[in-house]
């Protein structure tokens, strides 16, 4: 088992550079990835301590023939030790809590009264609507497109997310975390400074028979390309 775990760990490390969520293509995603790395780091420390103690004790105190009939002395406990492993985790968690609070305050989606509230936020605004089983994107000039999202690079994009039927969840793993699309509610969620590229968007909340196929294509393009794109007709029925 040990060897297996070691192997998978090596496997994990070597693969890290390709893992979408750990290597995101927007500032928002990078801030979230930083938290993932930080928590993974702190937790690796914990894991190592536990694994070392575990391996050591299991090996050293395992039954062998010469221990036949040996009755160990009872230990009721040890206040100092027990305080140690109460307090140190507390400290580690406190260290983790500070950036968690900061980023969470920054990134948490906000509830809006309607599509227009929050329109004063700086950035490019896009209305996102989930509906069994398509995504509809409405741009600032009213252009409306299904299952294809085009956004300009290096800008703050303010998404206004809602749903027409059941709950969906709007997720572009390579850019940033997800936000649920809830009927009767509009959330704003910002993704900052995406890099140019093509990314897969998905529905992350189970919504029915075609949930798996509720995907959309995301393209991050230059600002001028974006302006051109907006001027083109919808080319889609709606």
């Amino acid at each position: 088992m040990k060897r297996l775990m070691l192997l998978s760990f090596v496997f994990l490390l070597s693969g890290c550079s390709d893992i979408a969520v750990l290597n995101p293509k927007s500032v928002t995603g990078q801030e979230q990835a930083y938290l993932i790395w930080l928590s993974l780091g702190i937790m690796t420390l914990v894991i190592l301590v536990v694994f070392v103690l575990f391996a050591w004790f299991t090996f050293k105190y395992r039954y062998t023939k010469n221990k036949d009939g040996f009755v160990p002395t009872d230990v009721k406990g040890n206040l100092k030790l027990e305080l140690t492993w109460t307090i140190i985790p507390f400290v580690l968690l406190a260290i983790l809590a500070v950036p968690t609070i900061m980023t969470t305050y920054d990134h948490s989606p906000e509830l809006q009264a309607d599509n227009r509230e929050g329109a004063d936020k700086e950035g490019t605004h896009i209305n996102v609507t989930g509906q069994q089983f398509t995504w509809t994107f409405e741009y600032e000039n009213g252009k409306t497109v299904h299952d294809e999202l085009i956004i300009p690079e290096d800008e703050t994009i303010v998404f206004h997310i809602t749903s027409k039927d059941v709950i969906h969840s709007f997720w572009i793993p390579e850019l940033a975390g997800k936000v649920d699309a809830v009927p009767g509610r509009v959330y704003t969620y910002e993704i900052k400074d995406a890099e140019r590229g093509t990314y897969r968007g998905k529905c992350a909340e189970y919504c029915g028979i075609q949930h798996t196929n509720m995907v959309f294509n995301t393209e991050v393009v230059s600002k001028s390309d974006y302006e051109d794109y907006l001027k083109k007709p919808d080319n889609q029925d709606d």
């Binding site: 088992m1 297996l4 775990m5 998978s8 969520v21 750990l22 979230q32 938290l35 993932i36 928590s39 993974l40 937790m43 914990v46 894991i47 536990v50 103690l53 575990f54 004790f57 299991t58 105190y61 395992r62 039954y63 221990k67 009755v71 160990p72 009872d74 230990v75 009721k76 406990g77 040890n78 027990e82 492993w85 109460t86 985790p89 968690l93 968690t100 609070i101 969470t104 305050y105 920054d106 990134h107 948490s108 906000e110 059941v166 975390g177 997800k178 936000v179 649920d180 809830v182 009927p183 509610r185 897969r200 998905k202 529905c203 992350a204 189970y206 919504c207 029915g208 028979i209 798996t212």
Partner: protein, 640 residues
């Protein structure tokens, strides 16, 4: 193929299920007839004895575990390769399979098997003759049975629910899933949940009222402590679930609008569900923690390190369990403040959990570790569980959870936690208590095979899933594309799953040959420490005659060390009187019939079944099993 009752044609997996059930049914029936086992079946249908009810819980829990395990293998077969088309398991079928897998595992496999172990062990650990309310105990079991069977029936009528084990509204309301499928979820879970609440009440009263003289609370074995606190969790959490399910039932049957429309709100359901759902995780974990504590002390030949801290941390975890439910809802948009507060409470729960882990490790330190099968499972639990705990802390970082949530990373996390604690705990418990349940001891060599196959399979399945998730695979999706970087990890997961399957098959074989061999073991096969090892194997119906007096923790162990017998007393404690009765069986199953009537709109059937249930109440109200004993002193058994 057209068959009445099925409006559409019958898919081949349903036909396969019918055929296999009929074949198994015929085989079982011939066995019963040939061996003339009717009396045993009749006995178990009417029993109210804690060991027998516990055995029933284990048998049916294990049966449902196998069913849900087959579902898991179907899921993994479908996900083995990109754009795979395994049998029928795409789209609706896939959705049905992960829904039944999750629901069955949580409600009909893990929870009942733990309740079974509690039923068997708790009375024996505290010197009680039986649970406080034997009749209620049988009712609790049969309700679980009826709910589980009802839920299973769905598949056979090609109407399995497809709303996930979380049944999120508004998808689960009649607006979006008008067919009976979702009703099977609502009614099946509701009925069995009711049984779970009853059993929890029973355990609480038993532990408070029926301890042997001198068995102070702070001398109780940790499994009993864990059972006590778990029962309180059940009492609150399952009640909240019952309320949620009632509201959902009203939305579905009578078009109320609790969970949709302008006045209702789908988020209400999520709150209700997770106020139940998070404590449920600890309902599954705490009893396993208790079992591991007892097993590790037994096979280290040492008392538990820091007993008071262990008890306090169980209590703290249970309390905190009610303060963290929103961590399942970070992406729902409840706002930065709510997300932060619940991130902090979630992190806090790691502290008492960590205390327990280190106390287990230091219990082992300086001991003599005997590597029996139950001990192996307990040892396997520690590092595996810590890995699940670690990803739990990572998930509590709310902004990071925006990425993790609803991806396979979460699937990896909760399987790491639940399998390490609950499932390894149940396996450990089965090997450990098998002598008390049947009088036989399971084969150690096969046990070790079972352990290693299962453990390796488990890590092989779920470790790569972390990466699958971080590469952007949402949960509850039935396929993925070639270029997404998801192929390798998914394929490894599938191999691991089948390895686990082989492990369980080995266990099944072990159970089979052990029961066939019929080699009896004595009362204390493991060199145990607590009272259950003083009574005969299997535990008799008349245990603790005379009643032991408890003067310390692990009383049996210290008595053995001093070469003494446990001190006993002729004084009598009030003890529950159990009388066999068929009423619990009838009552619970009629409740399932009633639900069936409601679901299909056959009101006459519902009314008839309802009247039947009510009749059972009346019959029960006029019968008093104590009647025989009036005026014969406190202890009925003595004078029979």
């Amino acid at each position: 193929m057209y068959i009445p009752f099925f409006e559409k044609h019958v898919p081949s997996d349903v036909i396969a299920a019918w055929v296999s059930v009929i074949i198994i049914g015929i085989v079982l029936a011939t066995y019963v007839i040939k061996q003339n086992k009717w009396s045993v079946i009749w006995e178990y249908m009417r029993t109210t004895h804690h060991r027998k009810v516990g055995t029933l819980y284990m048998i049916f829990g294990f049966l449902f575990f196998l069913r849900a395990g087959v579902d898991a293998l179907l899921i993994r077969s479908q996900l083995a390769l990109p754009q795979n088309e395994f049998w029928l398991f795409q789209f609706q079928k896939y959705n049905e399979v992960f829904t039944t897998h999750g629901t069955m595992m949580i409600f009909f496999a893990a929870t009942p098997m733990l309740l079974g172990l509690m039923n068997v062990a708790v009375p024996l650990q505290i010197g009680a003759r039986d649970l406080a309310f034997p009749f209620l105990n049988a009712v609790g079991f049969w309700l679980f049975f009826a709910g589980g069977m009802l839920f299973n029936l769905a598949f056979f009528f090609d109407s399995a629910p497809a709303i996930g084990w979380t049944g999120y509204a508004p998808l689960s309301t009649s607006l979006f899933t008008p067919d009976v499928n979702s009703d099977y979820y609502v009614f099946g879970v509701q009925i069995s949940g009711l049984g779970t609440i009853f059993t929890a009440l029973n355990i609480i009263v038993t532990i408070f009222r029926h301890r042997a003289p001198g068995m102070k609370l702070m001398r109780m074995p940790l499994f009993t402590w864990a059972s006590l606190i778990t029962s309180f969790l059940i009492l609150v959490a399952f009640t909240v679930l019952a309320i949620g399910l009632y509201l959902l039932m009203f939305d579905r049957m009578f078009d109320t609008k609790f969970f949709n429309g302008p006045d209702g709100d789908p988020i209400f359901w999520q709150h209700l569900f997770w106020i139940f759902g998070h404590p449920e995780v600890y309902i599954l974990a705490l009893p396993a923690f208790g079992l591991f504590s007892d097993i590790i002390t037994t096979f280290s030949k040492k008392r538990i390190f820091g007993y008071p801290a262990m008890v306090i941390s169980i209590g703290t975890i249970a309390f905190l369990a009610f303060t963290v439910w929103v961590h399942h809802m970070f992406t729902v948009g409840l706002g930065p403040l709510v997300n932060t507060v619940f991130a902090l409470t979630t992190m806090a729960i790691a502290v008492p959990t960590g205390v327990k882990v280190f106390n287990w490790l230091f219990t082992m330190r300086g001991g003599v570790l005997r590597m029996t099968t139950p001990m192996l499972f307990s040892l396997g639990f520690i590092p595996s569980f810590v890995m699940g705990g670690v990803t739990g802390v990572m998930l509590s970082v709310s902004a990071a959870d925006f990425q993790f949530h609803d991806s396979h990373f979460v699937v990896a996390h909760f399987h790491y936690v639940i399998l390490a604690s609950t499932i390894l705990g149940i396996f450990a418990g089965i090997y450990y208590y098998f002598p008390k349940i049947t009088g036989y001891q399971l084969n150690e060599k096969l046990g070790k095979w079972h352990f290693w196959l299962f453990l390796i399979g488990y890590h092989l399945t779920f470790f790569p899933m972390h990466i699958t998730g971080m590469n952007g695979m949402p949960r509850r999706t039935f396929t993925y594309d070639v270029g997404e970087g998801l192929t390798a990890t998914n394929f490894i997961s599938t191999i691991g799953a089948f390895l686990m399957g082989i492990g369980v098959a080995v266990m099944f074989y072990n159970l089979f040959i052990t029961i066939r061999k019929k080699e009896r073991v004595g009362s204390d096969p493991w060199d145990g420490r607590t009272l259950e090892w003083t009574v005969a194997s299997p535990a008799p119906e008349d245990s603790f005659q005379p009643m032991p007096i408890v003067k310390e923790m692990d009383p049996y162990w210290y008595a053995k060390q001093r070469g003494e017998d446990l001190e006993t007393t002729d004084e009598k404690l009030a003890s529950p009187i159990s009388r066999d009765s068929i009423i619990p069986f009838i009552m619970a199953n009629l409740l399932a019939v009633l639900s069936f009537g409601l679901m299909y709109g056959w009101i006459w059937l519902a009314v008839l079944a309802g009247a039947g249930v009510f009749m059972c109440f009346i019959i029960r109200a006029f019968r008093d099993e104590r009647e025989q004993y009036y005026g014969k002193g406190e202890d009925g058994h003595e004078s029979v």
